[in-house]
Amino acid sequence: MFLRRLKYWKDSARRSEALREEMELHIAERAAQLQEDGLTPEGARAEARRQFGNVSLKHEASREVWMLRHWLELVQDVRYGLRTMAANKTFSAMAILSLALGIGANTAIFSFMDSLLLRSLPVSNPESLAMLNWRAPLDRGRDSVVHRGSGNIWPDGQSARMAGIFPYPAFELIRANSAGLFLSVFAYRSTGNVNVMARGQAELASGEFVSGDYFPGLAVSPSAGRLIIPDDDRVGAPAIAVLSYAYSQRRFGDAASAPGQSILINNIPFSVAGVTPPGFFGVDPAAAPDFYIPLRTNLLLRLRVGANDAKDYLDQNFYWLEMMARLRPGVSQAQAQAALGPMFRQWVDSTAANDRERLQLPELLIRDGAGGLDTLRRQYSKPLYVLLALVALILAIACANIANLLLTRATARRREMAVRLSMGAGRLRLIRQLLTESVLLASIGGAASVLFAMWSIRFLTFLLANGSEDFTLRPDLNWPVLGAAAALALLTGLLFGLAPALRATRVDVIPALKDATASRLGSRYWFGRVSLSQALVVTQIGLSLLLLVAEGLFVRTLSNLQSIQLGFNREDLLLFKMNARQAGHKDPEIITFYSELQKRFAAIPGIRGASATSPQMTGQGTTGGPAGPAGVPPKPGVYAHILTTGPDFFSTMQIPVRLGRGFDDRDRPGSLPVAVVNEAYVKTYFPGQNPLGQHISISRRAPLIDRDVEIIGVAANARYGALKGAFRDIVYLPFNQDSYYPVEEMTFALRTSGDPLRYVNTVREIVRQADPRIPVSDVRTQAAQIDRTINQEIVFARLCTAFAVLALLIACVGLYGTMAYTVARRTSEIGIRMALGAQRGTVVWMVLREVFVLAAVGLAIGVPAALGASRFVESFLFEVKPNSPAAVVFAVAILLGAVLLAGYAPARKASRIDPMLAVRHE
């Protein structure tokens, strides 16, 4: 039966025609018969028609039998809507454009949020994966069972902290006691950057230590060779490595030829056992490891000099291992937590050294692991939500604009509506038709928005990544995102179409039919004393103000950040890193190696100065420890920050030395151990005294002993570590006197004449000649390094400016349209006024007054809203108060200026009205 309906639908045009003919035939026959009965031909036809009934109605009723009425009407409406759109090309084009921009921007943000918040790990059955974390109250008294930690600990609210790192004994404990809850438990930990030599080429790579159950637990199959199994993770097992698909392709050409090859990781031989499948990136969306090696191989690699890695496996207070588990079918995360929590607490209690530590024990948390670790989510969620709010605002402004323009058009179509209503069209039917028009507009805008969304995604990815190579957020336009965009298009179509549709059809039929032109009385759609059109303009102005204030705040933040006092000169500085120890160099020869290299760099023509530091000065954390005056016992928890540098550091970085001198050739291994401190340090430790010649004691972990050094210089304050906040207490030590920990990775800084990047090849060549096993990594200029640190603020400031400009533009266009229409409508009134003697200036003022009243109301709503909302972005600002009056005043000024501009043209047009023509206009 359904097939028959389908067949009817296809033939519907022809069928409809045939039916009509049949009906005509019927009437003709009846008329013929009536004629025979004696009526005149015309009378017979009339009588036949009367007896037949309403032909059109019956025709339609018949058609309805085989075609769904609603479907018929929808097709009608769509055709009508398309015709209307074609008739108003400018309006349609503008509307579609603004919708495409608005919906496209929203879609781009949707796709980012989808890839950030909704994607699961590319493993089988990710919903049964669980992350193991702990949470502990945070007390500045810092007595905690976590005696040493290596990994991420992040704040959770104001008074607690969370982490995913555990001691090895905790891993064993959970593994032994969770057979009923977990199918498997596995642990892993990042290796950090290591030197990987494959096929004679040395490069830096970053991998993952994994326990034996990692790959079986994640249920992944290799794309070549085999993956790590539990038997590989024991002391004495052969050292194997599993490569990621992309890495195997890069180093060996293709994945299939990788298994069996031999590589050197930090000079230790490993054999490649297999390759992971393409698309597998481990468990952290923020970092895709290049290779995976069994956990126990960290005993071979000895990544931390002087550390006793074997002891680490027994240490109950050293937190370093991350864990995940796969739940048994039917077991929920809550159940697992309820079962394991008390056991973990008991164990952690037993590891506490004293009662103070027992006051803030960590408690176990079992959390959803389907999406992998939340490093990326924590970093980007809040900014993305803010961006979402901003693009939603833009879309709202665009919708208000279109609604306003539709209202204007509705007025022009009053007559048409009146005619149709009087002919019996249901009001609901008319509203449906008008809504179909607006949804059609929105749908076309939505389709066009896909293009804009693709471009936006690329642009946003570029902005957010800002040159860092391992940006792992990979948004794309998949079906859920496109579905959300389509729903948004539909919603906006209904939203901006509803009010005009309702208003358009509430027409007083008789006056509308009689009047050829708009009259004063029945033509405005009033909410009390305010017309809907005016309300929309006011809303637009308010929303634009919000965006302008946000923009002002973010731009100020950015400029504050960019003009932060660094204490050193950031221009023309080339930075790069290398790690000789990973390539095999050892003490004491490694010191000579670095010193020689520094001298060779300094000798390059065009280089005005060369120096080295460990670690790098900005963009990473710092190292530090207790370093107070010798003989004074160090206060617990009071640290100084320690930077080891090469000679000529202060002159190269252009940090003024206030007292004494910087490091130079006099400071050699074996000569007097020296240090330079900065002004902040002097204020903390030697207030009011001359620190030159004083001794300080650098505290170091066993097996090294504390070091006694003499202060030979005081440098001006300079940034080390974070860019924001107060200058830290810094102790500078020369790297060649063994005053701190043995050097590993060194960051070189070369002051160049001209573009620093021109010298990169020379640098690489020098290093290659010195030792081809050492890769030069992380090459960038200091200026770019700092930009990378404040990348988020840069993005926000740029985006906000773009948004604010866009919003203001749209609002002004809307204002212009409304005012132009008002003037057109009141042409006769203005004409009369001018005929009665009003001056041009008065007329202009009359129009402008209305403009300013609208603006004032918009501001009255917008300013409190802006003040309230700016509290939400406080965490993104820097040295700018959210309620900064300057930002608000500035925004208001810009808005008023734009509004004036938008209103001026209609005002001038009003003043040019010829009174004679205007009066006759009626």
């Binding site: 039966m1 028959r4 309906r5 009817y8 045939a18 039916l19 003919e21 049949e22 009906m23 035939l25 019927h26 003709a28 026959e29 009846r30 007896q51 037949f52 009934g53 309403n54 032909v55 109605l57 019956k58 025709h59 009723a61 018949s62 058609r63 309805e64 039998v65 085989w66 019996g424």
Partner: protein, 95 residues
């Protein structure tokens, strides 16, 4: 037009039955059905002639009747003659 247009016939179903009864006797044009109905109902039922057509379409859609092609007075090819389909004529109890 005083009253709202009716979506269905005021006696739902009965018109269909009348048409079927009519057509079970002979095949007819739409036009020809009217006097038969009037006869069948003893002139009690005065059907608005146009109302036939929706009913005819309904019956056609549901497979009770079918139209055959013929020439209209305007020499167009159109489905005009209505007759019961073979299957349904068995149901109606005619040969």
């Amino acid at each position: 037009m005083g009253c709202k247009p009716q979506k269905n016939d005021s006696l739902p179903g009965s018109l269909d039955l009348l048409i079927l009864c009519t057509l079970s006797r002979r095949d007819l044009l739409g036009y020809g059905i009217v006097p038969f109905i009037q006869q069948l109902s003893d002139d009690e039922l005065l059907v608005e002639e146009g109302s036939l057509y929706p009913a005819l379409q309904r019956l056609d859609r549901n497979g009770w009747i079918e139209g055959t092609w013929g020439l209209t007075p305007n020499n167009h090819n159109a489905k005009i003659c209505k007759k019961l389909t073979l299957a349904k004529s068995c149901v109606m109890g005619t040969e």
